[in-house]
């Protein structure tokens, strides 16, 4: 295949412009992200193709499998263009209706539309659904729109024009200058200014330098990187090429989580296509600049998201962090100057080259520029990926975009920033998302996981959950993290089992501060955050566990009696039917009874009972 030039890019764009504007025919854009694959979108796609062929519509209607659309909880989902009609939770039985009603008769299929939980009205147009309406897609600009396995689709959406501009018309100084102007900060969590990092590495002496992409998205509850890699892999490659030109590197690695097979497959396809078209390899776009990218699969270690640990892992060793300095910009992978950027950071780079740093910095707050992608999940109505300008209040995220808390339950807290982050309570929901503001209230921006928790969540249990995670993922190299987190976990377990003592809170606080100040890497230093932030805002729950031996949210099984309150029991038998081990005795018109020797304390009955009768 001949190598592309800038003119080729422009002519591909012109040829495909009608197609991506959906002018030439009807397009059915089926979400092909991990979430929708799991709910059966591939079967829906096959059935659609068959039905279209049966009705001889295959020339007028095209089916495109896109990357992750972002509204993951509604899968399998599909958007019909022109019209931008959003269909959700499509089953195989719905296919003939879609084809007959929508495509032939021109009538929208109401029952597959999004229904507003408040007004109960159907909203047909995707961009009018509140989940999408409040968003500003920049990093996610191509999601749900292009076929991630088609480089032509990507090129048509201005793909590789940012690279062309950077390689052919800009000096490394100018590239770094635009990055500094953009104010883009590392989206992986730490928020270090990307331009500054590049500038260090650019000035660092050395023949061999490396550009690394951190796709080891380890924070539980964060899936924006997976989604970007699945929906728009070329944007990440482009970001790396531009970074390489800025620091004068010839080789790049993408360190990808092995848990993300679909993302790895699509990345590999993108790399192969880019190589065939001369967008990777020697003399990219005729600029004389050479750069190559390889995928390196991780093997399941959270600590490898830390930069020095990640580099050790690529070197084939145990992924343990080392003290800095020397910083990777001076001595990184194989002791050579290296920069490491997160997926979301890199995918913003091509647009910054194309539209300028000032354009990027035109939204956001004083210290946090641009947009940020959040992965919203947990006890919230609209689960999925959300991209908003920096400075958007958390309340907008959770209520306007997220649609609030399901099952008429009350909001309790929102966990931001993964295991190293913190829980934010209701009265701080107007905090804007901004690196500094979030840190002030005791959490971190982190990679952007937003986990909403309702009143049934026990904060002691959440702190224990995160501490268990940190403890298991501690690499064991430094004592504060290895021993300190273990001790914190023991204390939390003790409290949740009802053996807590008055002094435990104080010990946990002191220990947390010690770990924070003395641990070697970011994982250890931020490890106690979940404990500190829950203690800060939900102290009374810890006290209830310790002094009253009571779990207010009824989650800590050792503090529950597993007895049925005869006054609240409506004798409905739901607990009897739900119990997996037949530990509930019940007959019609009788109060149920739990046989304690059989009960495994699985909480199934508790969740099923609508009347709160289980104590």
């Amino acid at each position: 295949m001949p190598k592309l030039t800038v003119d080729d890019l422009k002519s591909i764009k012109a040829q495909n412009a009608d197609r991506l504007a959906f002018k030439d025919k009807t397009y059915l854009l089926i979400c092909g992200g991990t979430g929708c694959h799991a709910t059966g979108s591939l079967k829906v796609k096959d059935a659609l193709l068959k039905e279209l062929a049966a009705k001889q519509l295959q020339d007028k209607v095209a089916v495109v499998e896109t990357g992750c659309n972002g509204f993951c909880a509604m899968g399998p989902l599909m958007v019909v263009h022109p019209g931008d009609v959003f269909y959700q939770k499509i089953s195989l039985e719905d296919i003939p209706h879609i084809v007959q009603d929508h495509l032939i008769d021109g009538k929208i299929v109401d029952k597959l539309l999004y229904k507003d939980p408040g007004t109960k009205k159907h909203i047909p147009v995707q961009t009018e659904i509140p989940f999408f309406a409040h968003q500003m897609p920049r990093a996610l600009r191509n999601k749900g729109l292009i076929d991630p396995e088609s480089i032509d689709d990507y090129i048509t959406r201005d793909g590789y024009l940012g690279t062309a501009h950077a390689l052919l018309e800009m000096t490394p100084e100018q590239i770094v200058g635009e990055m500094l102007k953009s104010g883009l900060r590392g989206r992986g969590g730490a928020g270090f200014p990307t331009g500054v990092k590049w500038d260090f590495a650019r000035k660092s002496a050395g023949e061999i330098k490396y550009v690394l992409c951190n796709a080891d998205e380890g924070d539980p509850g964060a899936f924006m990187d997976r989604s970007i890699l699945e929906a728009d892999p070329h944007s990440v490659l482009e970001g790396m090429i531009i970074a390489a030109k800025a620091i004068d590197a010839r080789k790049g690695y993408i360190y990808a989580r092995t848990e993300y097979p679909l993302a790895i497959t699509r990345l590999q396809i993108a790399i192969t296509q880019a190589k065939e078209r001369g967008l990777l390899g020697d003399d990219i776009l005729g600029s004389g600049f050479d750069f190559d990218i390889e995928i390196y699969q991780g093997a399941g270690a959270f600590v490898c998201g830390e930069e020095t640990a990640l580099m050790r892992s690529i070197e084939g060793r145990r992924g343990m962090p080392r003290p800095r300095p020397p910083f990777p910009a001076h001595k990184g992978l194989w002791e050579k100057p290296t920069i490491l950027n997160n997926v979301e950071t890199l995918c913003n780079v091509p647009q910054i080259m194309l539209h300028g740093g000032d354009w990027y910095a035109s939204v956001g707050t004083a210290t946090s520029k641009g947009t940020k992608v959040f992965a919203m999940s947990g006890d919230v109505n609209n689960i999925g990926l959300v991209e908003v300008p920096m400075g958007t209040p958390l309340r907008t995220l959770i209520y306007d975009i997220g649609g609030g808390i399901p099952k008429k339950r009350k909001f309790k807290g929102v966990q931001l920033g993964g295991p190293s982050g913190g829980c934010i309570p209701e009265h701080l929901l107007d905090t804007p998302v901004d690196y500094e503001e979030i840190a002030k209230v005791g959490a971190i921006m982190g990679s952007g996981g937003v986990i909403v928790m309702d009143e049934n969540t026990c904060m002691v249990d959440m702190a224990r959950f995160f501490m268990e995670f940190i403890q298991e993922e501690s690499c064991g190299k430094c004592t504060p993290c290895r021993e300190g987190t273990r001790r914190l976990l023991q204390l939390l377990e003790k409290i949740s089992q009802g053996r807590g003592e008055a002094c435990d809170i104080e010990i946990m606080e002191e220990l947390s501060h010690t770990i924070r100040e003395t641990a070697l890497c970011g994982l250890g230093q931020t490890g106690p955050n979940p404990v500190l932030s829950t203690l800060r805002y939900f102290r009374e729950e810890f006290e209830a566990h310790i002094y009253e031996k009571r779990c207010p949210a009824k989650r800590c099984v050792d503090l529950l009696r597993f007895e049925i309150d005869p006054e609240l029991c409506t004798k409905c038998g739901l607990c009897f039917k739900a119990c997996p081990v037949e530990a509930v005795a019940w007959q019609k018109k009788e109060v149920a009874r739990i046989e304690k020797d059989k009960c495994i304390k699985c909480l199934t009955c508790y969740d099923k009972c609508k009347f709160g009768a289980i104590m």
């Binding site: 539980p220 991780g298 959270f302 947990g378 986990i451 997996p580």
Partner: protein
């Protein structure tokens, strides 16, 4: 230079050995390739028995301690045999908030197996795993290659029972 032939092992047959040798041959010249070699060998055999680790170390010209160190560090690698079906239970935060703990305890009780273990008949291996990034479907259980979303403790056994 080969000092030992293939060590005897009940779970590795001749065809597997030739695949293993091919993996090693391709990756031997690449520095830092040990993690890739271990992953691919595990895909062939199903797990990494210690004699295999020794063999890989010798063929890759790496000390046994280093190979064992890498294999024991990363969660992906297992040195014990796996069941016919692997049940991966996502222990990410979103799944936790939505009740994965109850799902896990349901499986553990039904099949008398602990997280990380394998049933006696080698039918199932149960593995609590890190966030699978399918939080929109939480709670999530992955059996072999199939992702099951929105599982609950009362639904899970019916799902698991489909895998003989």
């Amino acid at each position: 230079m080969r000092t030992l032939g293939h060590p005897e092992h009940a779970d590795i047959d001749a065809a597997m050995w030739s695949q293993i040798d091919e993996i090693i041959r391709i990756h031997r010249p690449i520095s830092g390739a040990i993690i890739t070699v271990l992953r691919e060998c595990q895909n062939v055999v199903g797990y990494l028995p210690v004699p295999l680790l020794d063999y890989i170390g010798q063929e890759m010209n790496l000390p046994r301690s280093e190979v064992y160190g890498v294999a024991s560090f990363y969660a992906l690698f297992s040195m014990t045999p796996k069941g016919r079906h692997t049940i991966k239970i996502c222990l990410g935060t979103a799944c936790y908030v939505k009740g994965i703990k109850e799902v896990l305890s349901r499986i553990e009780n039904k099949y008398h197996v602990r997280d990380g273990g394998t049933t006696e008949d080698r039918r199932f291996s149960v593995q609590g795993v890190r966030c699978l990034g399918a939080c929109g479907l939480a709670p999530v259980v992955v059996i072999n290659q199939d992702t099951h979303g929105d599982v609950t403790s009362d639904k899970i056994i019916n799902i698991v029972e489909q895998y003989e």
